[in-house]
Amino acid sequence: MTRPVPVLLLVLTIAIPLSLLAGRVWIDPLDTPNAAIILMDLRLPRALLALAIGGGLGAAGAAMQGYLRNPLADPGLFGIAPGAALGAVVSLLFGYAASAWLLPLFALAGAGGAMALLALIAGRSGGIGLFTLAGMMIASLAGALTSLVISLAPNAFAMSEIVTWLMGALTDRSWQDVWIAAPLTIAGITLLRAAGPSLDALTLGDAAACSLGVDPARLRGLLVLGVGLTVGSGVAVAGIVGFVGLIVPHLVRPWTDRRPASLILPSALAGALLVLLADCLCRILPLVTELRLGIALSLIGAPFFLALLLKMRRGLA
């Protein structure tokens, strides 16, 4: 039951070439000067990054919602994105951002730290409740430390650099960012897909899942690694991009048979499409400075989330 996959692939094959042409300067491949350089060195890596980040967030969101058996779960709940952001912010504070490799490395280290802490607290035993609470505490701790680092910034310029970075964007990214984000995201999505059957079994509750042969510790490991790789690498190259992991599974779910496993790949494709389109929107909108991707997605995401809550309330009433 993966009907949405061919449809999404078709839409992506149309959207990707179009996105390459869209921007503040619309490119006519035959006419625009330096079209090849703009396409190959600026727009193609940017498009691929949008696909990787969106795909990772979509898959992570689908897996998280399946694991927590809750349609309101979001990859941010594990504290991995805030951990990665903390790492990146520390590297910005030390002025390491000048070296293109260091900021993503710090961010990945932050994500790894959050994952290790999560595994340490709730790894071997302990149920979903403990796991989620641990993730939320890590998120809140990382958030507080991030604010601390911002307050320690030596001058207003450094502070604004950090804050702007946190808003998330794909401006001026290069192939190097693609080489960081794409392989890690693909590895992460592969791990999340491997968790699919166990997530399906969890539909019936913890005890029934165990009786179906699910190993809870292995499942937690797959999720921490999968979400860590997808979300961590996304934050490392683009900053915080919210709401994709929350919205996308909802958009896709009606077109699947609603098993968590059948949702992961379509969510990855739909997430890739959503971030690609949102990034194009950021580029096209005639603002003085380019709208930040993180802001754009939250502006789309928050009203969607409210509408979802209203719909749920009606369902309960």
Binding site: L204, A208, L212, R259
Partner: protein
């Protein structure tokens, strides 16, 4: 293919939920686990399913320890139906039933179709779970267990909250599974159902096994008085008995 508890005991946080007990269960029969609230019925069932680690003793499936068995192998042999009836996502009945194939890692079109038929669910196959009545959902959850073709079916209060027609329908399905060679173990609250439909009753009280016998013996008036503190007697013929209290 025997399922055997050997000096099985379960503790939780230093509290003994189940005192050491031994019992050998036979395939092809229906065994009922009865007892008052808190007697340890669900604990015993979960331990027999290999879901709760015994504090001492062990559960053996054909002589092999369940704790040492790979989870998938255990899952293929023992189907477990919890009491909660939780279905987190609103999937169609066929997808729900197909979850029973997870330990086999295949689609299992034939076993799924057979399970749907056994539970009289064919016309509901494409219905969403949220649109089912309580009785239909209970049948769908049982069909999920049957789709795994387990040699043992362990169900925790599968008949609670069902009307008498659905109770009977589910019991008929379970009896057919037993006749097909499966071992069936049910936690039952309703003593009349245990009396009339089980081949054997394990009676628990305070985490101890107080009787392991035929329903007529295990659920005698004297045992009911001792365990529940209720004066009761059975009316009717064997197989069609009714319990009268007071």
């Amino acid at each position: 293919m025997m399922l055997t508890a050997e000096k099985l005991a379960v503790e939780l946080g230093g509290t003994a939920l189940l005192h050491p007990l031994s019992a050998g269960l036979h395939p092809g029969t229906i065994t009922a686990i009865c007892g008052p609230n808190g007697a340890g019925k669900s604990t015993l069932l979960a331990a027999l399913a290999g879901l709760t680690e015994p504090s001492t003793g062990e559960v053996l499936l054909d002589g092999a320890s369940l704790s040492a068995m790979p989870a998938r192998q255990r899952a293929r042999a023992i189907g477990y139906l919890p009491q909660t009836g939780e279905v987190a996502w609103d999937m169609v009945v066929r997808s729900l039933v197909a979850l029973g194939r997870l330990p086999h890692g295949d689609e299992g079109a034939l076993p799924v179709a057979t399970a749907l038929a056994a539970c009289d669910l064919e016309r509901f196959a494409q219905r969403r779970v949220s649109t089912l009545s309580g009785g239909e959902k209970a049948r769908a959850l049982l069909a999920r267990v049957l789709a795994g073709e387990p040699r043992w079916i362990l169900a925790d209060e599968p008949l609670a909250a069902l009307d008498i027609a659905h109770q009977l329908a589910l019991l008929v399905t379970l009896r057919r599974a037993a006749a097909g060679g499966a071992g069936v173990v049910l936690v039952l609250h309703d003593l009349a159902l245990a009396m009339n439909h089980a081949d054997r009753v394990l009676l628990l009280d305070g985490g101890r096994l107080v009787a392991d016998a035929s329903p007529e013996d295990a659920l005698s008036g004297r045992n009911i008085a001792n365990v529940w503190g209720v004066a009761a007697r059975w009316l009717g013929e064997p197989g069609a008995r009714a319990l009268v209290m007071g």
